[in-house]
Symmetry: C2
Subunit: 343 residues, 2 copies
């Protein structure tokens, strides 16, 4: 049972030609119904399965999508699940690679997937990435490339993301409405578009409410809990410490929360906190953390749909840009003004 049966085995056993067998298995025409029956019966018996490699080699497509993500945290793994869902439905298999937020690893992954002859890419770029040559190589080969979540203007491609600017705005406006005056922002690396957009929303909100932007309240640090923790500790030592923090990810919000607690401050009374992504952990900690909800699963599905669409319109290059709207979920960490008539 070691070797898989091939079309040739069937042909030999039935004493007919290979081409006839092939036709009997796929094409409806050009084959007598008796022979077809015989072929199908034997194929069943031998557990014949067409060899995808051979077909792929001929057709020059593998029905495989290369997906590169910076990591597989809660949000991204939800997105991948969305991608998977749609891709499977459309007859595609997904190869997921993690870049671990490393530029070098991203290049290796791209190369590997190109080698594997995937039919195209769905990508979320690493936070370390500042050059996009490796992705442009994909486009030079005329392979479809969809960017999701972490979108950047440096890479022109169909994309799916949420409106990060609006998300940042919602979070900040909410803090302002709650009466916070000195609102800090924990942003990511300066080259990370997603971070810049959220910060732009933050700035827009300040402007709308005529609050002066204070540079020392704008912190750039790595996109993770530890850095956020240390950045917040420093922030709280300022002579005029912030009375609210908008962290552009929940991971960072958690880091901030730990620092705040260590500093003996109460949330939301002494300091307000809003995160981003609405990860499940936000409702597990005390106080629960307000967060901008990210429709991750839907976003993944949209990305895969856009990919399928792109691959079917190989001729007309479309550069669609899908933008989903985020919404703010207010929780204890930022609700200073108690609601009187709560439902």
């Amino acid at each position: 049972m070691d070797k898989q049966a091939t079309i040739k085995d069937i042909a030999k056993q039935l004493n007919i030609s290979i081409s006839t067998v092939s036709r009997a298995l796929r094409n409806a025409t050009d084959v007598k119904s008796d022979t077809r029956k015989a072929v199908l019966a034997l194929a069943e018996e031998l557990k014949y399965e067409p060899n995808r490699l051979a077909i792929s080699l001929r057709e020059r497509q593998t029905h495989t999508i290369g997906v590169i993500v910076p990591n597989l945290d809660y949000v991204l793994s939800m997105m991948v699940r969305g991608i998977d869902e749609v891709a499977l439905e459309a007859g595609y298999t997904v190869m997921v690679c993690q870049s671990n937020e490393s530029f070098g690893r991203e290049i290796v992954n791209t190369r590997r997937l190109l080698d594997s002859l995937v039919d195209g890419f769905i990508i979320s770029v690493s936070s370390e990435t500042k050059s996009f040559e490796h992705f442009k190589k994909i486009q030079e080969r005329n392979l479809p490339l969809v960017v999701f979540d972490r979108v950047t203007p440096d890479l022109v491609a169909p994309s799916v993301r949420i409106d990060n600017e609006e998300g940042g705005f919602l979070a900040t406006e909410h803090l302002i409405e709650q009466g916070y005056k000195h609102i800090a922002i924990l942003a990511g690396p300066k080259n990370l578009g997603i971070s810049n957009k959220r910060m732009q929303g933050y700035l827009n909100a300040l402007k709308k409410y005529k609050i002066k932007k204070v540079d020392s309240l704008i912190i750039h640090c790595d996109f993770n809990q530890d850095y956020a923790y240390h950045a917040t500790k420093e922030l709280l030592l300022h002579k005029k410490r912030p009375d609210a923090i908008f962290a552009i990810s929940d991971r960072m919000a958690i880091g901030a929360m730990l620092a705040i607690k260590e500093h003996g401050l109460r949330m939301p009374e002494d300091i307000g906190l809003v995160g981003f992504n609405n990860e499940p952990v936000t409702v597990l900690v005390t106080p629960q953390i307000s967060s901008v909800d990210m429709p991750a699963f839907e976003l993944g599905k949209a990305a895969a749909k856009l990919f399928i669409e792109t691959i079917h319109n190989t001729e007309s290059v479309i550069h669609e840009e899908i933008v989903l709207r985020p919404k703010l979920l207010v929780r204890a960490s930022s609700q200073k003004i108690k609601i009187k008539n709560a439902k």
Copy 2:
């Protein structure tokens, strides 16, 4: 630039035969150094890349590993990262599929990966799975199959896991030593081996300390937070409620914690709690949850190493079984006896 250059293009341009080009590119022997130089130069210029499909078709192997996991939560995504790490190093690319804890989905995934002609599988079975025919199909084709984390005796294959029995024992013994008397266990579905093993450890500890097993303290529920929450709520309504709970996963421990808090009980004074996996969330909640540490990344690496080993020893069927040892991390949720001279 649409089509990738092939060996044939090089041959034509240099007016030499295809085989010579092939030899120039790989084999060191049998080709004049002048011609080799010319070939390499032209290959460089045309950005020649060997077509993996053609090679795979010939060699009958794709250098791809199919990985099927029930989900991509923290623990599993760490394991996948470990697998990825080792696989990449060894020249393999990984295709990750999520079964979403669904039996049907697992079958579809297996079939897809078999179709894609992966060289073998590294699998963690879904909690819903009771029949293993789809996996046995893999073995019938003589493809290497390594099972990790969720191992089951129904599927004979090389495997990597932690000693779940020991983990369960450590957790339970610790609770006993802290003076808890009525220790409940939140276990998973009855067909989930990983759960049964941890429960066996729990029973072993009870036996060692001559504590009678009470059936009403043994709860089977689905492997997630919600079910654990509801199960715990019920548990706490018993006339003789438990004074400690061992949850066989941190997710379930979180569910239990929520129910405990809602019930107005204090941890660790009124009730002790120990989880399993040592997910980061355990130190974010209040009180911090004691947990049995799972060396997830290492386990993933070990699984991939075992896979590589298996694939290189195709002749001698090895059924190695690697067991990593867990260790207990004691935190506030279960530390009733305060340590006097803490460091």
